[in-house]
Symmetry: C2
Subunit: 192 residues, 2 copies
Amino acid sequence: MFEVFEAYLRAKISLTDEELELIRAAATVKHLRKWQYLAQAGERWHSHCFVCQGCLRLYRVDEKGQEHIISFAVENGWIGDRQSLLSGEPAQSNVDALEDSTVLLFTDESFQQLFRRIPAFQDMINAILARSFNVIQDRIHAAISYSAEEKYQDFLRTSPHLANRVPLAMIASYLGMTAETLSRVRKQLARK
Amino acid sequence: MFEVFEAYLRAKISLTDEELELIRAAATVKHLRKWQYLAQAGERWHSHCFVCQGCLRLYRVDEKGQEHIISFAVENGWIGDRQSLLSGEPAQSNVDALEDSTVLLFTDESFQQLFRRIPAFQDMINAILARSFNVIQDRIHAAISYSAEEKYQDFLRTSPHLANRVPLAMIASYLGMTAETLSRVRKQLARK
DNA sequence: CGATTCTTTGAAAACAGTCAATCTGTGTGG
DNA sequence: CCACACAGATTGACTGTTTTCAAAGAATCG
């Protein structure tokens, strides 16, 4: 399964065989079954997680017991509770698998070591962080600016690969509306 | 005005006088009057901007001409269109001053140079980026999970310094509701 | 003081949420 | 192979929240 990450790396930076080995040695492969937690709220989160295969979600549960999905990650995506990673505080979020999945885990320490030895790797990670910063900023814009219908259209535009892969109720949660509302929005759009 | 940034730096990392001079040399001080643009949608954005004094906002204007505020920045904050900075594409957002303000501008090139010469500076910036990533993630959670009243309470909790500094209509825009709704929410809360 | 901007209020309309029932498709066990 | 159970999706009626539009009241600045 490391090959997926290798291909991902090679597409972004050039590495010597030796450097690639360092990275491989730092990675832990983990298989997750559908619904299996990778992390639960209350625990500490120490890792960087790359998705080789499958689909995961990051979500929080509010006082009323409702789940709110912060983000999805599929193949070639990253996911995890940065908050907990950075602060050392227990995570507020849960991460679990929506399909049988395979992920690569890197402890934060091993990441820091890799950074020191392979500057290009650090540059890559920084670029990824910066890019995801933009994505998340677009998401805020969508959340505060759009109606339910517009939100769904924006979702279809930005995440077409998720629309038929993730249950409707979860997309609704991700967009901040109820499943019923999303179902009606969809019907509306189909009519057009 | 550089003193504000100097104090900010010294609180976070230790620097030699020489290093501090490098940073000072890279900075451009800019004074902005109330309502003055620092950046407009359509232009390219090349800089990193630190606020020494005053208050700025980052916002987008939608097709209907409505403004949606993505973020505020006051003293010791950073602001700018990362999207444009990173991609080189024209900015989708505007930045302007809500009060007479003073900011420090650093071109991205000079930032990269500083990174090479002062690793601690790069670490600091990376830490800031990571932290703001968390802030923005909390904001998403609030935007998709809370009712109008809850959003405002969350805002009071996370940004008490802004509540009496920024006009109500702008807070409403930031929270994704109309000024009328926020006014009513406030009245509701006052009653309690 | 007058002009302008910001905020509040009211009434009606649009929108989204809730609850309960039904429908659909999938997979399981008899 | 069928019947059944189950989860996910849809629909309807109703309720509650938020927006819209218009007007009136504060507050601020020259």
